[in-house]
Amino acid sequence: MSWDDFALAFFSLDILRQACPILLSGLVQTLLLSAMVVPLGLFGGVLLALLATVRSPFVRWPLMAWVDVFRSLPPLVLLIFVYAGLPFAGLEVSAWGAVAIGFFLNTGAYYGEILRAGIESVPAGQVEAARSTGLSRGQAMAWVVLPQAVRNMLPDLISNTLEVVKLTSIASVVALPELLFQARQAQSVTFNATPIVAAAVAYFVLLWPVVRLLSRLENRQLAGRR
């Protein structure tokens, strides 16, 4: 196959021009989806991390089991289970609803672990010092623990958020018209790979700065942890 054929199959400007509107609408959906599932997952994570501060074994063990189960199930399995399974239980869910439930469970478990580890990374002496000056439990959490915890877990939080945004692509499997779904549609209509390449480029342009930032933060963190 000649270079021209190759370019035609993967980088056809003509096809790109045709597919542009639907790809753009897909991109918008991807951004909307991210704007929904990231806060949703963070909310779930905060709930789990707060529960994790309860010392009782009746909370600890079920909590750990919950987190590990939802970290063990591949997100796509969870999504399909919710989307294709729940109707059999008489619960019709839309693609958006299924994505919301699946991501809340999966992403929440990951955010929860990160937040918990971040809070636990702050030495106990910090809380004791704060309490000894009369700060309440909540004030010590807000002014002393969380600011330090956020700094410690910032790379993990950003990294997980990057993964969540990438993960929205699985919504294409339940026919939610986000970027990958639209690219696949365009590709199957045109028999040309250009739309998928364009979608990949869009993801890359969108997420590359985050990857760069992360790789610097992570390098620094690992070096500091020896």
């Binding site: 196959m1 054929d5 190759f6 199959a9 993967f10 590990d68 189960v69 970290r71 063990s72 199930l73 591949p74 997100p75 796509l76 399995v77 969870l78 399909i80 289970f81 294709a84 399974g85 059999f88 239980a89 008489g90 990374s121 030495p123 990057l162 993964e163 990438k166 993960l167 929205t168 692509s169 699985i170 294409s172 499997v173 990958l180 690219a183 696949r184 590709q187 199957s188 028999f191 790979a193 998928i196 390449v197 979608a199 990949a200 993801y203 890359f204 969108l206 997420l207 590359w208 985050v210 990857v211 760069r212 992360l214 790789s215 992570e218 390098n219 690992l222 070096a223 942890r225 020896r226």
Partner: protein, 226 residues
């Protein structure tokens, strides 16, 4: 029928379970094979790239960094779609299994290279200098002095990342690979009952729950002294 009976009849139907269990077990085997192939290729390639990067050849390093960034920024499902739906446009057809294997190996390569590299740079310069001053060459120093120290600190992040990427084998169902999720979905549409999905989810738990728990253990076992 009570609500519970209806639920059990849908999701825990013994007849359907018996019928589709063999398929799920086959899918389980396929998932394990795919996962092992990804881990072997991904980690080997990642380590190789990190070693090459430590040679410090500028243009080569830029290339490596770009490849790593690329596969960290692209959603795995997009990479799989590129290989499976895109490559035929170039007259090159990959099986679903090969497409998923290649895509996920590249993703694991990218993430593990980053971790290996961070581990290598975290080993103090003095270690290199001490080894080189005793007459050890570059590669023996790397292999005998630097890598053993680097690998130890990379184990926790590497384990977690490997688990996360290996779970993406479920994405192979999208490109018609009859691994666990694929087999389960086929079962649901043939049997018109979601029990195969329950089986599939259970199969993933059997496969990944021990690994996730192991990852948790490794994280505390190799916890950094602060």
């Amino acid at each position: 029928m009570t609500g519970w009976e209806r639920f059990a009849d849908s999701f825990l139907n013994a007849r359907v379970a018996a019928e589709y269990l063999p398929k799920i077990v086959e899918g389980f085997g396929l998932t394990v094979v795919l996962a092992l192939c990804i881990i072997a290729a991904g980690l080997a390639a990642g380590l190789a790239l990190a070693v090459v990067r430590s040679l410090g050849v500028r243009p080569l390093n830029w290339l490596i960094i770009f490849a790593v960034d690329l596969f960290r920024a692209l959603p795995p499902l997009v990479v799989i779609a590129l290989f499976y739906f895109g490559l035929p446009a170039a007259g090159l057809s990959l099986s679903g299994f090969a497409a998923a294997w290649l895509a996920l190996s590249l993703v694991l390569m990218a993430f593990s290279e980053e971790i290996f590299w961070a581990g290598i740079t975290a080993v103090p310069k003095g270690q290199w200098e001490a080894a080189r001053s005793t007459g050890l060459g570059f590669l023996p120093t790397l292999r005998l002095v630097v890598l053993p120290q680097a690998l130890r600190i990379t184990i926790p992040p590497l384990t977690n990342r490997t688990i996360a990427i290996t779970k993406n084998t479920a994405l192979a169902s999208v490109v018609a690979v009859p691994e666990i999720l694929g087999a389960a979905q086929a079962g649901v549409s043939f049997g018109f009952n979601p029990t195969p999905l329950t089986l599939g989810a259970a199969a993933y738990l059997v496969l990944f729950l021990p690994v996730v728990v192991l990852g948790r253990w490794i994280e505390t076992r190799f916890a950094w002294k602060r």
